[in-house]
């Protein structure tokens, strides 16, 4: 699970033996989440008969992917030391813009999809710009954009279509090809996999690459870990932060287009509360709430835990009302485990 793929260490110091492979493993941010994921898997494998069926795999991964697509950039943002509470409703905004633009302009849906991308990136830029200009906590600024977007989603939709959902764009030009890209199925064997799983895998891979193999990734860690020190050695702190918000906005666009093209209408009240689930997935995956530490792979494991829990409860034929309880318990346990592991791993020898 390390995914570092670092080149073999150059001629090693004999004192390096003191760092056992176990300790190296314990030092990985994802460790707590992997242990948690295995535990959740075993738990539902025991209590829910249908959990281990092949078809469940597709369902669980699909549920994980809808969260994971957002959790990856949210994890990067948190490593960079910031929050985005507007991420959940931004997904809905993105879907609404795409749908309503195409419908009102009677344009090819791809035009709406493209316009939606620009506007959603604009939301991200607004968050980043406000944060870096006002120097207020991102919690406050994105709480503001969260409420504003929630209001805009409902207000505009009712104003334009008269109801809380958009008009169907199912028979418009380009709908079928857009559905292929954002909401199709791939059948492998007799298991159906949603295309969002591919989007998710790609986003996690790109986020991991950026984080551990690029200059920008180095800056993300630095900005989240000690922004003043980063600025003092010449890291473009403002550019890094705005870039992180743009990443969240891009993923919100992908997620929003999936929301739209899964059906052909969008409910304007959706998405509220999801921002916390993204943050939970990132934190379960080992992101420090104070920034400077974490991984994108971890966010994916956090999303898998979410997928397994939300679907596992259904397979176990329990009342889904229990879901939030499990999610909360997972969050606490994973965070405690991460905390304990890091203390152990960082204890100087």
């Amino acid at each position: 699970m390390t995914a570092t793929g670092q080149p073999a260490a150059p001629p090693t110091d004999e004192r390096l033996l003191r760092t056992s492979p176990l300790r190296k493993l314990l030092g990985r941010p994802e460790l707590g989440s992997v242990v948690g994921a295995v535990a959740v898997f075993l738990f539902f494998a025991l209590v829910a008969d249908s959990f281990l069926q092949a078809s469940s795999l597709g369902t669980v991964l699909y549920a994980a992917s809808t969260i994971g697509i957002m959790a990856a950039p949210v994890a990067l943002l948190m490593i960079g030391g910031e929050f985005d509470l507007s991420a959940g409703v931004m997904v809905t905004s993105s879907a609404l813009i795409s749908s309503m633009f195409s419908y009102q302009m009677t344009a090819n849906v791809w035009v709406g999809v493209f316009v939606s991308l620009l506007v959603t990136l604009g939301f991200g830029a607004f968050n980043g710009f406000m944060l870096t200009r006002t120097k207020l906590p991102s919690f406050i600024i994105t709480l503001g954009t969260f409420l504003m977007l929630t209001g805009l989603n409902l207000g505009f939709t009712k104003l334009i279509s008269g109801t809380v959902s958009t008009k169907s764009i199912g028979n418009m030009e380009g709908f079928d090809s857009a559905r292929k890209v954002f909401a199709s199925y791939l059948t492998i064997g007799d298991v159906e996999f949603k295309v969002t799983i591919l989007w998710w895998a790609a986003l996690v891979a790109i986020a991991t690459w950026i984080l551990i193999r690029t200059r920008f990734g180095n800056w993300i860690f630095a900005v989240g870990g000690e922004a003043d020190a980063a600025r003092a050695v010449g890291v473009p702190v403002i550019r890094t932060r705005i870039g992180l918000y743009l990443g969240v906005a891009f993923a919100a666009w992908v997620s929003g287009q999936h929301l739209l093209f899964s059906y052909d209408v969008v409910q304007s009240g959706e998405g509220v509360g999801n921002e916390l689930i993204y943050i939970i997935a990132a934190v379960i995956g080992g992101c420090l709430i104070t920034g400077g530490y974490g991984s994108a792979i971890g966010s994916a494991v956090g999303a898998i835990i979410f997928g397994m829990t939300s679907k596992g409860i259904v397979y176990a034929e329990w009342n889904p009302d229990w879901f939030k309880y499990f999610l909360g318990a997972m969050l606490l346990l994973a965070t405690l485990l991460n905390h304990w592991v890091r203390k152990r791993a960082e204890a100087t020898t």
């Binding site: 150059p10 004192r15 860690f221 003092a232 050695v233 420090l288």
Partner: protein
Amino acid sequence: MTATQAPAPRDPAAPALVELDGVSKYYGNIKALENVSLEVHAGEISCVLGDNGAGKSTLIKIIAGLHRHDAGTFLIEGEEITLANPRDALDRGIATVYQDLAVVPLMPVWRNFFLGSEPTKGAGPFKRLDVRRMRETTRAELLRMGIDLRDVDQPIGTLSGGERQCVAIARAVYFGAKVLVLDEPTAALGVKQSGVVLKYVAAARDAGLGVVLITHNPHHAYLVGDRFVLLKRGAMSGSHTKDGVTLDELTRQMAGGSELDELSHELERAPSPGDPGVRPEGDETP
């Protein structure tokens, strides 16, 4: 100009690497720094001495490009400039090592070493960190400074304070700094670790760098310094070269001179049975 003695440059033809002349800085109506002059030459250590609140931090922030000066002239190699930001200062060869801000504690040593100036290989979307080179260079450069790290992958926060300072100094030297600004490098360190850090400061000087050493310890300053500027309440209270001042004189001026006499006089009269030792603290307001 309150300079009691104009320092004579070793090579009068070459302009100083950094020269501040009558520099002032105001925060609103507060005079943080007023009319301070300082010269930094290659292969020399200029010490800035002062108690808490004397304006040392403000001075360092101006040289490092974090703040802009409001009056006076700031010359880098004879050219008058106003630094826009820390990157600008770095590009002009001024590297600053802060007491607390030198490094990002949770990041591995090798990532810290190259932070802000990471080498890359490949092009376009495959442009990536040259990790092997970063690790090997970090290990080699630290070894050259005499720091033998067990593991360049350990978070830099696990190193001792002295080691962290040394990594930051090694980094500045490696990236071709011409001027090294050190903010209280020995303040939080024990005697032995202070010695280690001062040794690296001297090594940087011998490598031809101009060094600005900010400290409130005249003993440390006198050990390595070539020029001494004393700050007091934001103004310059003295400027000396090494042959123009003794350690005792420096300590006396630093400690507040006549104020110290007054304080000891006052303490003497107080009928306290306690320790009569007089400490040169508390004579400054921030």
